[in-house]
Amino acid sequence: MIDYRRIAKRLVISILLLTVVCFDQQIFAQDGKALFQQNCASCHAVHKDLTGPKLAGIEERVPDKKLLHDWIRNNQAVLKSGNKYFNDLYQQYNKAAMNLFPNLTDAEIDAILAYVKVQEANVPGAKGNPKTDQDAKATSSDNTLLFGILTLILAIIVFTLLQVNANLKRLSDEKEGVPAYEPVPFWRNKAYIALVAVILFVIGGYYTIQGAIGLGRSKDYQPEQPIYYSHKVHAGTNQINCLYCHGGAQEGRHANIPSLNTCMNCHMAITSYSGEDLYREDGTKVDGTAEIQKIYKHTGWDPDQQKYANEPKPVEWVKIHNLPDHVYFSHAQHVNAGRVACQTCHGEIQNMNEVYQFSDLSMGWCINCHRETKVKFTENKFYSIYEKFHNEIKNGTLDSVTVEKIGGTECQKCHY
């Protein structure tokens, strides 16, 4: 017994310790993940050579931590210093120059490396955690179904009971000798007809109105694009930061579909697709390599000669998110100033192969979000001018400031 306890105690302690250690690393790696995605992911993957080499095992390959830090911050200086390993690497990758990151601190680089280390363990192919949110989705839809079925069953029971009641009444009436009327079948029963008519009217009206409101809206719109571009492969599997391609979202009104030279930053080196099999919505298999070739066709790049040899031709993407002309929507306001995640409006884009319109982009949807979302009231100094609200927060009479509170639901915030 005593042994059992001891073992159990040790077990508990060691599990706790392990959790703490893991957690510690987890926190570190969380920052590292963001940094990795912001700075590295456009050229490097953990397990795969992209424009740059894979990062798994980097600390084994370059054991000198200082050298590694120097290299990451200013690779040109390291190359100039004549380091053999890095010069060889440089040659090996067709002298593709790495960006300079002079602003990364030691701690940040360590965070990135820690993240890489954690990721090393997650070998691709071995499926990670099952998608919990999908489960949640499934259960939520299950619930609806369940309720529907329950309602139906209850309705049938009620109907049956009513019939039984009617039959019993008739039987008892017969027994007591009360003259019975000719029974009216329920489909000719006026009460039933009226009930059905009302129900149909309500349901029909509901759908008519919903349909009318939905005119011009195109939620779930998922057109076929000229190039099968998978956000899942890029933003999901390879974890490229959204803003690497859609940089306009930081600066102005449009997020902008990236120009082809942005694609070529990576695809000059990545010429074929070797990841998981991709399937279109209709079930046909996608030849990823052929899709990459399409970029070359449009940019005029000749992969054999390694130069732009042909006439370029822009890609005509099909626009998915269409706002009416009288709406002024600025990505910069939401992404840069408001720090709203892309997924809030565009859905789990990193899991979408072909993009579809996630939100209905209706005014009600906009307004709703403006009512609920809190602005970065204390973080952004712009809001320092709202002295009244700052005082109220200090007094405790106000806990947070929503977009609506500072006028975010007024007409001329979006219509002018």
Partner: protein, 1048 residues
């Protein structure tokens, strides 16, 4: 002050029936429901059927619409240029070029299209100021009438090479006959070098500069007086006394941007130390500059020299002789006294092109110590250099047949030369005629070879508007058509194979020392001396006696017959931009007329010719209430023209005035065609220079002609105190005069302090963060209209054309109201006030309460918001707006609708503005309004939103420079200050605080709580015109107003 009566129209002055009726009706015409009641029941389509059809078609449309959602494409760059982010505007420094004028500007380029011009604030002499023409110039880029390819004998030449070869052959076949390059004033340093290289290739050839509005008189007079054929800088900022002999220096004369800026220094009243410059104006017509003068005296145009000579003798302490009229003589004496008293701080300018007059003016300036103080010879104007005699010689040579070839650039003598017929006949005798003009103008039509030049926004270049002050030109868009800039053309023809871009770059790189400095200069747009040069010129008064004799000084002038002055309007100026609908539709500052020129004459002359007594209700209504104006037959020498008349108070009694720039040929464009008559034909030569006035005969024809004026469109329904003014003496004596009057008026409703709260039963809403506010200084508004055009450009305000303005359908969000005060029959008594009127963004707005669909409502930042997609067009708001600033889209003016029928009544100009090319000028950040909605000033909300976002992105509070309205930015006089009123450090808060004594709100007494305030006008006169024209019935006169004889 209570007694002063302002009037926008004679009807208002007399409170005539038509005026009263007009004041009641916001919209001038009845709704188009003809016989509605009678027919509605017996109509072919009774109401029930109609409803059935409506129901069915709506359903059908809904079904059809839902079936077909259009597929939109998004096409990104293949290779995105580093600085271009789609959706984000870039600003490039360049220079507005027009006939020698070169204003440094920034071009706002959005997604590759220039859409707006702003002033370049790095320029020390414009400080970001612009004019109406500068603001409108971006529309010229997209003018549908621009020439699109090179032509020979009217046929397209496929390539530039082929064209170069044709012209090269033609030029080499001249057999030594001279080639003449005829251009407007060229002040481009590299351009001059190109020209000299070209001239060297063709020996015997020469370069002639020709300015349609000539400054030869001034140039030659300066040569006689100072030994320099140049025009100095006039420093209005240093002048305490300004005497102006008919120069429209705030509107069109020489360099209005710089002059407005300088003049403003002396006109803005510093509350701590109230002082103002004193401006005397002697002129014949009612000019915009004259309207801003403190004291104004009129004389006949032919008397300009006599007046100048009299002023000279008065300044020299001699007696004034030869002047007709007591008022004028006393005026001259008074002005002379002031000039002498302010020696060294005085300035005299004259707009005359007569050498003698300018020599006398130079003598006056010398006598009052202007040379080296208010006149700076250290920096000279290089924007006007044409000498009339050179042009006259050329025209003679051409007629002699001694000119082999003439190459024209940016000149149009067949239209604007005083003897255009002679020029045309001469041009026919020239063997090779080449035009490099941008448009098929009157001269280009007559040329054998045509190679259209680029618009300035498509060009490289440089300019030196003032000596030492260089501004560079860089293209902001690739040439839209097969055009080539003139420098490149001349380089090619002189055998230089370099492109002008490289030539220009090399020129400046070698001048500035390195490529980096060149690129920096290109980015800044200006190259300026670190310390501004200042200096005087040595004076030689030898020519004064002869000049005095020439102008007939001393002798009593004969006063008989009528005279005519030819002038430039603030909008269209010399007519170069006649096909610009924005300029055509901008109301003239004085007459408030659009889309025409006309004969301006005094009410006195009107009475004589047409028996219209403007003090008589019936007669004034007959003249004014309808657009039909009487037509006169005007004869100058053997030239005759029939033109409509506008009666303008302040005109000299026997003088008429006609604006140049109108009467263009059809090929110049749809906007310019059939608008007005050409007035250049009435100019003449006095042997040395071109003279812009003439003796004229005039007679009434009995016919009428419709003129589209906006003068009577908006009236305040008899409400008072729209404007406030006082004299400088009054202000100094009691600075709180306006404040006290306001306090007294508001006393019953809580006084100044609590008026907002106590004057209403509505709740008061607080504005927690930003509260936008605007302050307009009426002392610094001269009526030039730059803000009006800037607003039009920024906010996609539609152009409606003459036929629509006639129906009072004009769409301007910002108008400049012009008020007269004084006796209409006494030109000297007329005082003018200009007041920019825009949506006042009332915190207690009457328009908001009456909208049935809440399409207009108030924001927490104090903006009166207008939501187009919610508006159903009841126009209740416009009816209820006390300031009359709301505009209704009566038709689809911008092609925004999908329904073609909405343009059924569109005229040529609307269709021109609807062209796909012209629509490229539209600002993509502002909704293009469709038919049936109301619109109005939004305080440029798109700029405010952008400014706020900029501050948020940079993680800092908002500052003034983040958000500026288009009108504020365009104003050269800084009359408009805008910003966040909640911030006590903002410019608008400081302006309001510092000028508390002059501050007033228009129609404050009706408790609408505007967010726009005005600063009362202060006049540097002895009396604010006390002439009371009419006491309105029902309006109790205060105290013991002098009883007027019941004359009318």
């Amino acid at each position: 002050m209570e007694q002063k009566k302002y009037w926008q129209s004679f009807g208002e002055l007399n409170n005539s029936e038509a005026f009263q009726k007009g004041a009641q009706d916001e919209f001038k015409e009845d709704l188009p429901f003809e016989n509605f009641d009678a027919q509605s029941l017996d109509a072919k389509t009774p109401r029930r059927d109609f409803l059935k059809y409506v129901g069915f078609s709506t359903a059908a449309a809904a079904v059809a619409a839902s079936c077909e959602m259009p597929v939109k494409k998004a096409i990104p760059f293949v290779n995105r240029p580093a600085d271009v982010v789609p959706g984000v505007a870039n600003y490039y420094a360049t220079t507005y070029l027009s006939g020698g004028d070169a204003i440094p500007v920034l071009a706002k380029v959005r997604d590759g299209r220039p859409i707006k011009i702003e002033g370049n604030e790095l320029s020390t002499w414009t400080k970001g100021g612009t004019t109406a023409q500068v603001q409108a110039s971006v529309l010229d880029l997209y003018d549908t009438a621009r020439l699109r390819f090179p032509m020979a004998d009217g046929k397209e030449v496929s390539t530039f090479e082929a064209f170069d070869k044709m012209v090269g052959t033609a030029l080499s076949g001249l057999g030594g006959a001279p080639v003449v390059l005829l251009t407007s004033t060229v002040n481009s340093p590299s351009g001059k070098q190109v020209i000299s290289e070209f001239l060297a290739k063709y020996p015997g050839s020469r370069h002639v500069q020709y300015d349609a509005i000539s400054y030869s008189g001034l140039l030659l007079a300066n040569e006689a007086s100072y030994g320099q054929r140049a025009i100095p800088s006039y420093q209005f900022d240093k002048a305490k006394v300004i005497v102006n002999l008919g120069a429209d220096f705030l509107g069109t004369w020489l360099n209005p941007v710089e002059f407005q800026r300088g003049y403003t220094q002396g006109r803005k009243v510093d509350p701590a130390n109230p002082a103002m410059s004193k401006h005397y104006q002697f002129e014949s017509m009612m000019s915009m500059t004259g309207a801003n003068a403190d004291e104004r005296f009129t004389h006949r145009p032919s008397e300009t020299g006599v007046v100048a000579a009299a002023l000279l003798s008065a300044v020299n302490g001699q007696s004034v002789t030869g002047i007709n009229g007591d008022k004028l003589r006393k005026g001259i004496e008074k002005a002379a006294k002031d000039l002498v008293a302010n020696k060294g701080n005085a300035l005299v300018v004259s707009g005359s092109n007569d050498v003698s007059v300018q020599i006398i003016v130079n003598a006056i300036n010398e006598a009052v110590g202007a040379n080296g103080t208010t006149i700076n010879w250290g920096v000279t104007h290089r924007n006007k250099a044409g000498i009339d005699a050179e042009m006259a010689t050329l025209v003679n040579d051409m007629n002699n047949g001694s000119i082999g070839a003439v190459i024209l650039y940016d000149v149009n003598p067949a239209y604007d030369y005083f003897d255009a017929e002679k020029f045309k006949s001469g041009l026919k005798k020239v063997r090779v005629s080449v035009s490099l003009n941008e448009k098929m103008d009157e001269t280009t039509e007559l040329c054998k070879y045509v190679l259209p030049a680029n618009h300035y926004l498509e060009s490289w270049g440089d300019a030196e508007h003032k000596s030492g002050y260089i501004s560079l030109v860089q293209p902001t868009i690739a040439p839209l058509f097969k055009t080539r800039q003139w420098q490149e053309t001349l380089l090619k023809w002189s055998g230089n194979t370099a492109s002008y871009m490289d030539y220009h770059k090399n020129f400046w790189t070698s001048k500035l020392g390195s490529e980096d400095t060149f690129l920096k200069a290109l980015q800044d747009g200006v190259i300026e001396p670190t310390t501004p040069a200042a200096g005087s010129a040595s004076y030689n008064g030898g020519a004064v006696a002869a000049a005095s004799a020439a102008v007939g000084a001393g002798g009593t002038a004969k006063r008989a017959g009528y005279e005519l002055v030819i002038y430039q309007k603030a909008g269209l100026a010399d007519g170069r931009h006649a096909n610009n609908p924005w300029l055509q539709e901008m109301p003239d500052p004085i007459t408030r007329a659009t889309w025409d020129n006309y004969v301006m004459m005094s009410p006195h002359l009107g009475k004589e010719l047409f028996k219209i007594d403007l003090k008589n209700n019936t007669q004034s209504d007959k003249y004014e209430a309808f657009p039909e104006k009487p037509v006169v037959k005007l004869k100058v020498g053997n030239k005759e023209v029939e033109m409509p008349v506008l009666l303008i108070p302040g005109m000299q009694n026997e003088t008429m005035a006609i604006a140049v720039g109108y009467g263009r040929s059809e090929k110049v464009g749809k906007a310019a065609a059939n608008v007005g008559k050409n007035a250049y034909q009435f100019a003449s030569s006095n042997g040395t220079t071109v003279i812009f006035h003439a003796n004229a005969n005039v007679e009434a024809t009995g016919t009428t002609y419709k003129i589209a004026t906006t003068q009577t469109h908006s009236s305040y329904e008899g409400r008072h105190e729209v404007v406030k003014e006082m004299t400088l003496a009054e202000y100094i004596k009691n600075p709180k005069k306006v404040l006290e009057a306001r306090a007294k008026e508001l006393e019953p409703w809580g006084g100044l302090e609590n008026y907002a709260k106590d004057g209403t039963i509505y709740p008061v809403f607080d504005k927690p963060g930003i509260k936008w506010g605007m302050s307009i200084d009426m002392n610094a508004c001269y009526g030039c209209g730059a803000c009006v055009v800037a607003c039009t450009a920024e906010n996609n305000v539609s152009v409606v054309g003459k036929s629509e303005v006639l129906r009072a359908h004009d769409m301007h969000w910002l108008r400049i109201d012009r008020y007269f005060a004084g006796d209409a029959y006494d030109p000297e008594s007329i005082q003018t006030v200009f007041q920019p009127m825009l949506c006042q963004h009332c915190d207690n707005a009457p328009c908001e309460n009456v909208c049935p669909v809440a399409a207009t409502n108030h924001s927490s930042e104090g903006l009166n918001q207008m939501t187009y997609n919610r508006c159903i067009g009841t126009r209740y708001c416009a009816n209820n707006c006390p300031y009359k600033v709301r505009r209704f889209n009566w038709a689809d003016y911008t092609g925004a609708d999908s329904f073609k029928n909405n343009q059924d009544e569109a005229n040529d100009v609307i269709l021109m503005m609807n062209d796909d090319l012209t629509r490229m000028v539209l600002n993509p950040d502002v909704t293009v309004r469709s038919r049936g909605v109301i619109e109005k000033c939004s305080f440029c909300v798109q700029r405010l939103q952008e400014g706020k976002l900029k501050a948020k992105k940079e993680d800092r509070p908002l500052v003034d420079s983040d958000a500026r309205t288009a009108c504020q930015q365009a104003c050269a006089a800084d009359a408009i200050v805008f910003g966040n009123v909640n911030n006590s450090q903002s410019a608008v808060s400081k302006t309001r605080h510092d000028n508390m004594n002059r501050l007033f709100y228009s129609l404050e007494q009706i408790h609408v709580l505007p967010n726009v305030n005005y600063l009362a006008k202060v006049r540097n006169t002895d009396v604010v015109s006390a002439h009371v024209e009419h006491q309105e019935p029902g309006h109790e006169s205060h105290q013991q107003a002098p009883k007027e004889p019941a004359a009318h």
